[in-house]
Subunit: 425 residues, 2 copies
Amino acid sequence: VPEAPHVSPVRGMRDLLPAECELRDWAIGRILDTYRRFGFARIETPVLEHLALLTGGQGGENEKLIFKVLKRGEKLDLAAARSEDDLSEEGLRFDLTVPLARYYAHNQGALPQPFKAIQIGPVFRAERPQKGRFRQFTQCDIDVLGEAGEAAEIELILATTEALAALGLRGFTVRVNDRRFLREFARHCSVDDEARQDEFFIVLDKLDKAGVEGVLKELGERGFGAATAGRLADLLTGPLAQQVEGQPLFADALATVRRVREVVGPLLGERARVEFDPTLVRGMGYYTGPIFEIGMDGAPGSIAGGGRYDRMLGRLLGREVPACGFSIGFERVVGLLLERGVRAPKAGTRFALLHEPGVDSLQRVLAEAAARRAAVEGNSVAVFARRKKLGKQLDELEQAGFDCVLTLPEGNGPPEEQWLGGGRA
Amino acid sequence: VPEAPHVSPVRGMRDLLPAECELRDWAIGRILDTYRRFGFARIETPVLEHLALLTGGQGGENEKLIFKVLKRGEKLDLAAARSEDDLSEEGLRFDLTVPLARYYAHNQGALPQPFKAIQIGPVFRAERPQKGRFRQFTQCDIDVLGEAGEAAEIELILATTEALAALGLRGFTVRVNDRRFLREFARHCSVDDEARQDEFFIVLDKLDKAGVEGVLKELGERGFGAATAGRLADLLTGPLAQQVEGQPLFADALATVRRVREVVGPLLGERARVEFDPTLVRGMGYYTGPIFEIGMDGAPGSIAGGGRYDRMLGRLLGREVPACGFSIGFERVVGLLLERGVRAPKAGTRFALLHEPGVDSLQRVLAEAAARRAAVEGNSVAVFARRKKLGKQLDELEQAGFDCVLTLPEGNGPPEEQWLGGGRA
């Protein structure tokens, strides 16, 4: 039978099956628990926001990927509509940081100072669908609002690595850089214009893939002059991080990076290495100071990232409020857990209680189920009608993760237990 | 300072402050835990669905309240657009039942039979904003798909009342009716046309507010004839439920209601009363058999509701699959918990560790915080810079729910503890 139309999820989005949901709920519980022990508090904002907020220039490329919501009723004048702006004034959020800034501006009177926020929820981007990328995905953020010192950065790194470790993941590298250093570095290489600097960073970002020659070649193609190439080539004669750190010129711009490394390194111990990465850029335009990413041995790319964005809240508040945040790439992390066969730990035994409708008294069946649930915390009992093909039913129950099948004998005796698969014999 | 534009949430939606988020997370945890112990498994579907699915006639009035998403790129031809249908093909879900039917049709091969699903997530309705009603709100559903017998209804009632009781709520009344009885009852009152029956039910639904005379009057105004009024008046001479149950005429249509009450009553014990309510209607058009609502002493209206909808899945699957579901009015329940001053139980002690930047070594501060967290499971430690106005800061920390403030003395001694408010002396 062909599937009826519209039975698939909408393009680029997906349904979550029970096993993945269970793993995600477990992972979110572990992350939330860790963040709460660091004194962060969860908040929530609506999924919809004013388009004027979302398109305020803070979201970079993401602003082009907004799902816009059609105006309703009298507000929608189709005949007079000249552009999309006439049709829509609200959209689905593309991240949790822009809504957080709005939230803080709107609710600041009711929030402690500084404010340490957790946000976990779906965000939406109309990207071209591709493997492992979805148009709805979960973000998992912590932010410290109202704290200017590097204590914020340090706590975010400690909390995020501890949350990832609570999922059983190991072998982290925290890469640290600073937007102020990047600007200084660009000026040193004779790139003074801010927009040109951003382009310079994009090319520099490719150093580990393209190599020194590749970077110098692309800079030439993009019209960066000989002075830029010369200065950069000088610094690239050895490992860039060492070259840069050796230059007194960059000492001021790297002071925070150095302090963060000094404090965080010993506190992290075996959990993670901390490295200065002068080519770390991160996409979002709103960062103003230290930026970070967390990588993991055996997993290319990054599994978390963040940084300081001291000027975003000022745009909404009319006064500056320093801010710093860290986001776990939750879908990436769940993908790694699934790859490694990690399953949510079971709290107790999963029983399936089979009854024969019309023969077994439903009251006896349900009373037995209630007793089994009450006997051990974490036990679960699902009641099912016994099917004629019992063998097939047992296979399905094992497949669905049940540990033990219970059937009631005639009379009043206790149920017979049949343990499935690798369960208790 | 006036608020910048777009700093408020969008119309009809709201931000959740930390205390409410904590209560909601606790409540969801308790509900999920209860439902899992009954053998239900959580699933998730995307927030967006095909409009063709959402407007398939199953959603009743809710179909008029859909937030539609603007088409993108080449698909959006503004010049050629004649109606909303040309502008949009996806929308935000208005409930979790219609998406569940799609989910089951799409994923049935990977799901156990019967399938017992939990869904908790946001739904969206563009209703006129009013007190306690929001355009984004959380629903909390369980459904049994593929089980035709009343065991499904009975388990849903047991699980839902147990979940509500796990939140500390008491004094439930489960009201039960049956759509088949309602049709029979309408025919007995000479209303044979299905659409007219639906109108008859709407009026009947008002019996407890309008009284017998009010109902008879409105029926007359709506053009129902003397035969209808006469038959109904006869039945309304005593309490309607008793009158109806005494009529052998309705015995078949009420057989399931009777069996459900017989089995469920003793199993519920003190937790809830079960009553037959012949005027219970419930809005959704898709119900086909027993319907329920749960009320609570001292709280008008209902806090949960559901019923059997055996024909919805057939429309998508091409074969009939019996289905039955129960939904907790989560926003209503959270409102009741807040009214009663219920707070999420604390797992441990909430410490605020104050440090003097530049004086206290950050490394010592953070090591102390880590040690306190590790000492007792559930303890949380938030690190804050000490402010000059310490009295004000302590007030704020108490307000924010902290139990104890820690400050480090000079030298290497343990931190000084200052317990706040009603905390340990």
